[in-house]
Amino acid sequence: MPGPNFPLLEIKDLSLGFALTAQTRPGFFKFTQQKTTPTLSIIEGVSFSIHAGEWYGLVGESGCGKSITALGLMGLMPMPYGRYISGSINYQGQTVWNPELGGLRQHDPWQQLRGQEIAMIFQEPMSALNPLYTLKKQLEECFTYNRLSSGVLSAPEKKDRIEEVLVRVGLGSVLKRVLKSYPHELSGGMQQRVMIALALLLKPKLLIADEPTTALDVTIQAQIMELLKSLQEQEKLSLLFITHNLALMSHYADKVGVMYAGRLVEEFPVAFLAGRARHPYTCGLLKAMPGKGGSQPIPGRVPSPQTYTQGCRFLPRCTQGSETCHVHPSEKQLTPTHRIFCHAIH
């Protein structure tokens, strides 16, 4: 059993990318060899770890690779173009993926983890739920596709578990109606609750939430966030929470990672967000937030992966840039919990 200081999920120097042309599959025509194709890296050298019961927030503008990181952790890189390039992913000290395991076609190491250990909720519940099936059917489907639990639970046990989870996410009073209805018959907030119920069904230890409240109103957003917080506190659930809303993050996360153009640029405890964050990009994001004193946008925009450079990628938009910034900054440990990648900060 892992000790308390053992990270639940640890990723080291992870690089993910996309092949620019599809891989030809050795099939009927045996002579079609696997070609090596050029790969475009999207994520480069990202390392962080999430401990049990910890809420890790990942922020950055769109196009920074936050969502691809999440998909990579779930083994859901869009195929056939997605590529795991280098680095490693460890879950409870066990290797999930490292370069020696190679491609993922034959062997899917996530099969035992997905759903049962790590679950995910997506931004848009409307497009993540199937419009053609009732929610009861979609919830039951979870048991069918996960080999470990399908044989273990009997039908009434499954029904009890579904009801238990729906009550847990606050749909207890409308339980019968929810089970019978189709996704379009529910409001956005209720759909997102059903999504959370789906994720919790097999009792995962880590929940990856990719902008779960962006499509919702502030009042409903607060309801969903309180629900996630209570799950974290009462059931010791760990969360990887992806958002671009820094204000929201400041209330709930324990640790914050800031990503820019495929790299992690800074990581610190959430309390540092007010005043102690140092990276020029983090400071820029904080200043761009709407507030009483007005907001100052960061000039320019996020580079596309085709134009990624070797040096610091924030350089064209940075106010503190210098000649040294053309070299990739190495990791600096400012305090035991504060990591930063920047030449200008000492």
Binding site: E61, T219, A222, Q223
Partner: protein, 326 residues
């Protein structure tokens, strides 16, 4: 900033927009859903008026009815103090000479098969621009430059631009028509914070430059605080509170406004957002009584029995509530 004594560019009185229910090809409407139910609104030149509320409260319907995209059902509309004839056949066309709209999703509001030049020239042609081609191009380039793009964009298609740039094209498109009122429906909610901040900055400078009046529809109170000068809070087709932004945001009178402010995440605040319990009621439950009473923390007997009337304070704050917060 111009004083409040300016006449409003556009005024709405008892404005109503109803959607027919159960209507078919040969079937008459069974009943009507009053998405906007008796709204009064004044828009002043050079100022931004924010309209906030949860989804489903009718704020987008109100916006699209102002450009005639959703047919209005009743009420009066005044343009610079003169009553506008809503019954005439070409009323929506005439209205669009004064009021223009920008939508949330820039991707679906630009035709993917038109170049930027065609996109920008089309509204001018529709509104009867008669002039040489050279003059047309000059106008288009001028509009592009005023939103921070240059003439190299002219022959490119919408897919070649980022979300923020596409939203700029949408803004440039309406600028040449010189609308006096601009309806912006959630224009930054699909954008990142820093790109959204750039667009808001642009909007603010255009407002003062052209003395335009903007109706800024949003569900994000955080953007409103520093952008708008007036605010209206909508709930279930009614405006529950309106007034100057500083007053409403610092001393809300209606419990719903307070609940919205409580639910908003704030940087540097120690208190976590407080969720508002319950969900929006169905339209069948709506009547003349307070529509917020089922979710209201301050609800009392009166709320279930006595119809509401508007209360105005000296600070120009108007609200509909029996038991306002002090």
């Amino acid at each position: 900033m111009p004083s409040t004594d300016f006449d409003p560019v556009l005024s709405l009185r008892n404005w109503r927009v109803c959607y027919p229910l159960g209507k078919g090809l040969w079937k008459k409407a069974r009943s009507f859903l009053p998405a906007v139910d008796g709204v009064d609104l004044d828009l002043y030149p050079g100022r931004i008026h924010a309209l906030v509320g949860e989804s489903g409260c009718g704020k987008s319907t109100l916006g699209s009815s102002l450009v005639g995209l959703t047919p209005w059902s009743g009420g009066d509309l005044f343009i610079q103090g003169k009553a506008f004839d809503l019954t005439s056949k070409n009323a929506p066309d005439l209205l669009r000479q004064t009021v223009q709209m920008i939508f949330q999703d820039s991707w679906s509001s630009l035709n993917p098969r038109q170049t930027v030049f065609e996109l920008l020239a089309e509204p001018l042609a529709v509104h009867g621009f008669k002039g040489q081609n050279g003059a047309l191009k000059e106008l288009v380039v001028q509009a592009l430059e005023s939103v921070g793009l240059d003439s190299s964009a002219l022959n490119r298609f919408p897919h070649a631009f980022s979300g923020g740039q596409r939203q700029r094209i949408c803004i440039a498109r309406v600028l040449n028509l010189k609308p006096r009122v601009l309806v912006c429906d959630e224009i930054v909610s699909a954008l990142d914070i820093s790109v959204g901040a750039q667009i808001l900055e642009l909007l603010r400078s255009l407002t003062s430059q052209h003395q335009m009046s903007i109706l800024f529809i949003t569900h994000d109170l955080a953007t409103v605080e520093n952008l708008a000068s007036e605010i209206s809070v909508a709930y279930m087709g009614k405006i529950v509170e309106s007034g100057p932004v500083e007053k409403v945001m610092s001393k809300p009178c209606h419990p719903y406004t307070q609940a919205l402010l409580n639910a908003m995440p704030r940087m540097g605040s120690q208190i976590r957002p407080i969720p508002l319990s319950g969900e929006i009621p169905t339209w069948e439950e709506c009547d003349d009584l307070c529509r917020f009473r089922k979710r209201c923390p301050q609800v009392q007997n009166n709320c279930h029995q006595v119809a509401l009337a508007c209360t105005s304070l000296e600070s120009k704050q108007n609200f509909y509530c029996h038991f306002p917060l002090s």
